[in-house]
C-alpha cells in the first residue's frame, strides 16, 4: 500500500511538472503583456516596465526562475493585482469556493443518493420515473441558466434569499444549490444503476433467504455494496463542481477561485494563471488519489489484495 501511494505520488509530481511547463509556455505565448494599462502605455515605457518585471528575459530564464521559486514554495506575485502574493490570494479565494463546492456536493450526494436509492427500489414506478426525469433534466439545464433563474426567482421575486453577494450563510445557499443540481443528476443515476445491479446479485438472494427483512437486506447488503463503487464518481464530480463554480461564482458574486482564474487568463496574469492551474491540478489529483485510497480502504477485496501485494 505504501509503495502504491508512493508510486502515485511520484507520478503526481511528474504530472504536475508537465502541467506547469505546458501552462507556462502556453500563457507566455498568449498575445499581449500582463500590463494593465497596456492600451495607453507608450511603447518605450512599456518595454521599460517589462524590463523591471523581468518579463523581457528569454522564456527559459523566466521558466527556471519560476520553477526555482516553486521549489521554495513561492508561487510568486500577481501581475494583475500587483504585489499580491499568489499563495495568499489562493488561500483567501479557496475558502469561498470550497465552501459552496463542498456544500453543493453534500446536498447533491444526499438528495442524489436518496433519489437514486428510491428509484432503484421502486424500479419502474412513479418515483423512479420522477427521479430519472429529474436527473435527466438536471443534466440538461445549463447551470448558468439555472443560477440566473434562481437568483431572479428566489432572490428577487420571492425575496427569500439574497440574489447574490457574499457575507452570511444565506449567501451560500443558492450557489451551492445551483452547483448541486448537476451532482444530484449524476449521482442519482449512478446510485440507481449501481444499486439495481447489486440488488440483482446472488448474495442479496442469500440474505433474503436467511429471512432478513427487505429493509435490512437493502441497508446492510445492498447499499453498502452499491455505495462503495459510487465513491469513484466523487472524482469526476469534484471536477464538475469546479467547472460549474466558474459560472456560478460569477453570477452570485462569490469571491472564489473561478473568478480569479478567468480574470487572470484574460489579463495575462501569468503567475496567477500558473498558480490557479497548479492549485486546481493538485486539487484534482489529490482528490482522485484520496478517493482511490478511500476506495481501497472501504472495499475489503481491494484492501486485502493491496496488503498482499506489499
Amino acid at each position: 500500500m505504501t509503495f502504491y501511494i508512493l508510486r502515485r505520488l511520484i507520478l503526481m509530481m511528474v504530472t504536475l511538472l508537465l502541467i506547469i511547463t505546458a501552462t507556462f509556455f502556453l500563457v507566455h505565448s498568449l498575445p499581449g503583456t500582463p500590463l494593465k494599462n497596456e492600451e495607453k502605455l507608450p511603447p518605450e515605457i512599456r518595454d521599460q516596465i517589462l524590463h523591471e518585471y523581468g518579463l523581457d528575459q528569454p522564456l527559459y530564464v523566466q521558466y527556471f526562475r519560476f520553477m526555482g521559486g516553486l521549489f521554495k514554495a513561492d508561487l510568486g506575485k500577481s501581475l494583475m493585482y500587483d504585489g499580491r502574493d499568489i499563495s495568499q490570494m489562493l488561500k483567501e479565494r479557496f475558502f469561498a469556493s470550497a465552501f459552496i463546492g463542498f456544500q453543493g456536493i453534500l446536498i447533491g450526494l444526499i438528495i442524489g443518493g436518496g433519489l437514486g436509492i428510491l428509484s432503484a427500489l421502486y424500479q419502474g414506478r412513479w418515483i423512479d420515473n420522477f427521479a430519472t426525469s429529474t436527473s435527466v433534466l438536471g443534466v440538461s439545464i445549463p447551470s448558468f441558466v439555472l443560477a440566473g433563474l434562481l437568483s431572479f426567482w428566489v432572490g428577487v421575486k420571492w425575496g427569500i434569499l439574497p440574489p447574490a453577494l457574499w457575507g452570511s450563510y444565506a449567501h451560500t445557499i443558492m450557489p451551492s444549490l445551483s452547483l448541486s443540481v448537476a451532482v444530484i443528476a449524476q449521482f442519482s443515476r449512478y446510485v440507481r444503476t449501481e444499486l439495481v445491479e447489486v440488488l440483482n446479485q446472488d448474495y442479496i438472494k442469500t440474505a433474503r433467504a436467511k429471512g432478513l427483512s427487505k429493509a435490512a437486506v437493502i441497508w446492510r447488503h445492498g447499499l453498502r455494496n452499491a455505495l462503495i463503487p459510487a465513491v469513484t464518481v466523487l472524482g469526476p464530480l469534484t471536477v464538475n463542481i469546479l467547472t460549474g463554480s466558474l459560472v456560478v461564482e460569477k453570477i452570485f458574486g462569490v469571491p472564489g477561485m473561478g473568478a480569479l482564474f478567468v480574470d487572470s487568463i484574460i489579463n495575462n496574469d501569468y503567475t496567477a494563471v500558473l498558480g490557479t492551474t497548479i492549485f486546481y491540478s493538485l486539487l484534482i489529483m489529490i482528490s482522485v488519489l484520496l478517493i482511490d485510497i478511500l476506495y481501497g480502504w472501504i472495499d475489503p477485496r481491494i484492501r486485502v489484495a493491496g496488503r498482499r501485494g506489499e
Binding site: D202, T206, R208, A209, L212, S213, R224, P300, V304
Partner: protein
Amino acid sequence: MTPLLTVNNLHVSFHSYQGEIQAVRGIHFAVKPGETLAIVGESGCGKSVTAQTIMRLLPSTAKIVQGEIRYEQQDLTQLTEVKMESIRGSQIAMIFQDPMTSLNPTMTIGQQLMEGLRKHLHLNKRLAKKRAEELLSLVGISNPHLRLKQYPHQLSGGMRQRVMIAIALAGDPKLLIADEPTTALDVTIQAQIMELLKSIQEKMGMALLLITHDLGIVAEVADRVMVMYAGKIVEHGTVDELFQHTKHPYTWGLLRSLPQLKQSREESLVAIPGSPPDLLHPPKACPYVNRCLQAMVICDQTPPELTACSSTHQVACWLEHPMASKEHENRAGGDE
C-alpha cells in the same frame, strides 16, 4: 406421513419485453419430512424458478399466476412478506449454485453467519458467535474462530459452499432447498459437498429439495426424483423407478447423455437433438414432441396428462396410452 410441503398446480410467469414467459406451467408435488426429493432437468426447464417460488424470492418481473404452496397448513403464496421472512431461514432455507457470488464480498463470514442466528434464534452477539463457530465446525471448516473474521474472497470455492451451508443451517430449518449446490465446483469437491449435505441431513433430520441437472448426484443422494421439462413435470418417481423403469423418452434421453463408467469406447454419449421450446409461446401439445424420437401424431395435438404407472411413479407421455405401440419399452434396457 403428512407431507411437509405440498405444491399444487403452480404456474409462474415472467414478464419480458417480448411478452409473458411461462416458466412453470402447472406442477404438483410434495416433500415429506426428512426425505430427499430431486428435481432434474435442463437449464431453463423451470426447476430453479420452482425453488425460488417456494422461497418467494422471485425477481420483480415474475409472478405466481396460480396454484398454492402448502407448508405446515399455510399457503406460502398468500403469506405477507413479514410472515414469509420468519419462515425463510428458520423453516425453509436455501443454498445457491455459485458460492463465488452468493456471499456478500464486503462482509466477513462471521457477520453473514450471525445475521440469521440473531434474527431467528434471537441470540446475543456472544452466543451468536459461539453458535457460528459450532456451525462452521459442523460443515467441516477448521479454525472456525479465524474464519469468522475472513472475507469470502479469502476462501476457496468449496469452503465458501460450506459456509453457505452453515448459513442455511443457522435457523435450524426443516426443509433445505439446494439449488444446484455443486455445479460451480470442482468434481472432487462436488462429492465432498454432497456427502456433507447428506450427513447433515441425517444428523438434523431435515428434508432436502435438491435441484440439479446431474443425474449422477441424484442416483446417490435422492429418495425420489422429479423430471421437469419446459415448465412441466414429465416424470416423477423413486430413484429406482426412474433409473430402472424409465418411462418418458426425455428422462431416457437424459440418462443416455450421462457418461457411465461401464460405457465402452465405441458407445458415444448421445445428446438430445434440438433445444427446448420457446416458453413465450409454449406448445399446446407435448412440449417434447419436436425432439422425441417416438413422437406420434397425437403428441403434436393434445398434451399428455400426468398418469400414474405405480403408486409412486407418474409419467406424462402418450406412449403410456394403451393405444400406443409398445415397441419403445425395449429400450429401457438401454441396449438398443
